[in-house]
């Protein structure tokens, strides 16, 4: 199925999609298109955030929206994240559907009060009388010495707050379909995008469609080890799986696509089949989403496990700036391969 495919190189693209005449687009274009279609379809949708009207258009994801929809619906803001989150939330409680954009996830802690204490809890606190359809897009980045305050991947911690949903799309297909689903969902959703995915290509239909929350997808079937990979790590896991195949190890790659809700059933099903679990996350290992995924798999499929589960993610230190230190900080396909080999041997 083209929408489950993760294409790790150009060769893949040609053979998998172009030959079938399927539409190939980049992650960033898929996002941009989702915005346009959402804005066209529903006058309650508006886009708000620092620089959404900028010529750069938040790395291209909101490019051209100002010209098409005007400043009432594509709204730049003062640098006042918490207050503006509350304002967007207030509008959402009264029928609007804001998409709030942050260039970097590092700015989320600035709006923690409104996200955690207000948005996530409003529906429950009001006995279901008021819903809060607020979608917050937050970009993770890395590289070029951005250091400790400009390269964090905070998706994991936000899964701790009941009432909030968290999406981590890895493919153009999911980026578009999950954003549309998020805006239509009626709940507060944190939508986490990794900047390195923006140029990646893949299949995405031109029309409007939804990717359901809480449904994982098997990116590659395998029998000996399950690799649950989040966001950018899906690509690293696919590269690793190809290398493992060459080494005679059959790996299954599972992409949860949303981490709240998390498709525990799909992960457990895979672990029951392979007997081994490796979780690869773009976030930190300590108290990260890899801990939750691993614990869930142990609860659901412990008796099937032939090896202790393993996790790959960021080490427990802030992001370093220097290029050499960055290299040591970020894990990739080679680490996944080495870890998977330890599990199977």
């Amino acid at each position: 199925m083209p929408w489950t495919k993760v294409l790790i190189d150009d060769e893949d693209l040609k053979t998998a999609l172009r030959k079938d005449g399927l539409r190939v687009t980049t992650y960033v274009n898929a996002l941009n298109e989702a915005h346009r279609q959402l804005l066209d379809a529903d006058p309650a949708v508006y886009v708000i955030g620092e620089g959404v009207d900028d010529p750069g258009g938040v790395f291209g994801s909101t490019r051209g929206l100002l010209a098409a929809y005007g400043p009432d619906r594509i709204m730049d803001i003062p640098i006042a994240e918490n207050g503006l989150t509350g304002i967007a939330l207030g509008s959402a409680l009264c029928g609007m559907k804001p998409i709030f954009v942050h260039m970097r996830q590092d700015f989320l802690p600035m709006c923690m009060d409104q996200i955690v204490n207000h948005a996530a809890k409003w529906h429950y606190m009001t006995g279901g009388k008021c819903s809060a359809p607020l979608v917050i897009r937050a970009l993770a980045g890395r590289g070029w010495g951005s250091a400790a305050q400009h390269s964090q991947t905070l998706h994991g911690i936000f899964t701790a707050f009941a009432g909030l949903k968290v999406a981590v799309p890895a493919t153009p297909y999911d980026a578009k379909g999950l954003l549309i689903a998020a805006v239509r969902d009626g709940n507060p959703v944190l939508f986490c995008e990794h900047r390195w995915l923006y140029g990646f290509e893949g299949y995405a239909p031109d029309g409007m469609y939804e990717v359901p929350f809480g449904k994982a997808v098997v990116r590659k079937p395998g029998t000996q080890v399950t690799i649950v990979a989040v966001s950018l790590m899906v690509y690293e896991a696919m590269k690793a799986a190809r290398e493992l195949e060459r080494l005679g190890v059959s790996a299954e790659v599972v992409d949860p696509r949303t981490i709240k809700p998390l498709d525990r059933a799909a992960i457990a099903e895979s672990v029951r089949k392979t007997g081994r679990l490796l979780v690869a996350d773009t976030g930190g290992v300590h108290s990260g989403i890899s801990a939750e995924i691993t614990a869930g798999a142990c609860e659901d499929a412990f008796s099937f496990m032939k090896a202790p589960p393993a996790r790959i993610g960021l080490p427990d230190c802030p992001t370093p700036a220097g290029a050499e230190l960055e290299k040591a900080f970020y894990p990739g396909a080679a680490d996944i391969v080495a870890c998977a080999l330890r599990l199977v041997r």
Binding site: I79, A80, E81, A148, H150, P315, P320
Partner: protein
């Protein structure tokens, strides 16, 4: 108005020249892509840092932002160490951990810089709280931009600083832009200084491109604070010549009008001041050339040091996460 001492006039010019030379060097080498860190250049705003820091003692403390180079150079930070930091080397002021946005030089009172907009505002006030609690006669300075004034933390900090009469100088460099958003698109009311006044803090808006104007305003502010009267607020109107980040300009991308930039470039703080000193007979053309050469030479030395410094290795990744027991601060 009484004339500043010759030495002060020369010092102001020298500080601005040092900043300009440092930033120009970054601009010229950045395309080599060996400096793998974002750079937010201070070019065009030199009079602000020079004028404020000339009123500070070495033990006074400053906190700054992503656009920190000027403040640190004017406060007397070690040029070698900050240059090496731009290259992520072990000889860098944070040993390659912080990069361009997290310079530090505690020996000269440069207490750190934040990449989170508004973050420097309460830190400066907190340092002032510590100074006051420890009965120090020193003061602290929070440098920040007009963008940071958007953050709620400004009002929270102003209130507390006024309440506790903290020895803190708030310096808002209003360069009219936050990334590419013009201040008119973000502020309903023109005066940032008025916000401080609302808390009873004396505040002044001054021409941030005139080194002497800044110097006099900061001198008055510092005297007020050192006399135990609590905080003071300066809003300095200035302009950055380069894009928000990186050595290029940005008008060609439609981020701001070229005519506006041209107008401000005509008001180059360094040329303005050099011309004034020449008219007063304080420096000659030869003297100015000499000063420029000296600034270049300092930058040359800093770059030699930086490039000779080794890169950290993977074994350095997990150091400095925590302070070890018994290790001194």
């Amino acid at each position: 108005m009484e004339q500043l001492s010759t030495q002060t006039q020369i010092d102001l010019l020298a500080a601005m020249l040092a900043i300009r030379a440092f930033e120009n060097r970054i601009s010229s080498v950045y395309p080599q892509q060996e400096m793998k860190t974002p750079v937010h250049l201070y070019t065009g705003q030199e009079a602000c840092a020079a004028g404020v820091c000339a009123n500070l003692e070495r033990e006074d403390m400053i906190f700054s932002t992503h656009r920190n180079h000027g403040h640190y150079i004017a406060k007397g930070a070690d040029l070698n160490a900050i240059a090496a930091e731009l290259y992520g080397r072990t000889g860098g002021c944070t040993k390659g951990k912080g990069g361009s946005m997290h310079f530090v030089d505690t020996a000269s009172g440069c207490m750190g810089t934040t990449a989170i907009v508004g973050g420097s505002i309460p830190l400066g006030a907190g340092a002032a709280l510590a100074l006051k609690m420890r009965k120090s006669s020193n003061i602290s300075v929070s440098f920040f931009g007009d963008g940071a004034a958007d953050e709620g933390v400004l009002q929270e900090t102003l209130n507390f600083a006024a309440l506790k009469k903290l020895p803190v100088l708030f310096v808002c460099e209003n360069n009219f832009y936050a990334t590419n958003s013009c201040v008119r698109a973000r502020h309903a009311h023109g005066s940032i200084a008025a916000r401080a006044q609302a808390f009873g803090i004396p505040a002044e808006t001054a021409d941030g491109n005139d080194a002497e104007t800044v110097y006099r305003a900061a001198r008055k502010a510092a005297a007020h604070i050192r006399a135990g009267n609590g905080p003071y607020f300066l809003e300095l109107l200035t302009y950055r010549w380069k894009g928000h980040v990186g050595p290029d300009c940005d008008y060609e991308k439609g981020c701001r009008p070229k005519a506006e930039l041209d107008e401000w470039m005509k008001r180059c703080p360094i040329e303005l001041y050099a011309a004034r000193l020449a008219a007063r007979g304080v420096i000659s053309q030869a003297g100015l050339d000499e000063m420029k050469k000296a600034a270049e030479a300092r930058v040359d030395r800093a770059w030699s040091y930086a490039l000779a410094s080794p890169a950290p290795g993977p074994e350095d990744l997990l150091t400095d996460v925590y302070r070890a027991a018994g290790e001194s601060a």
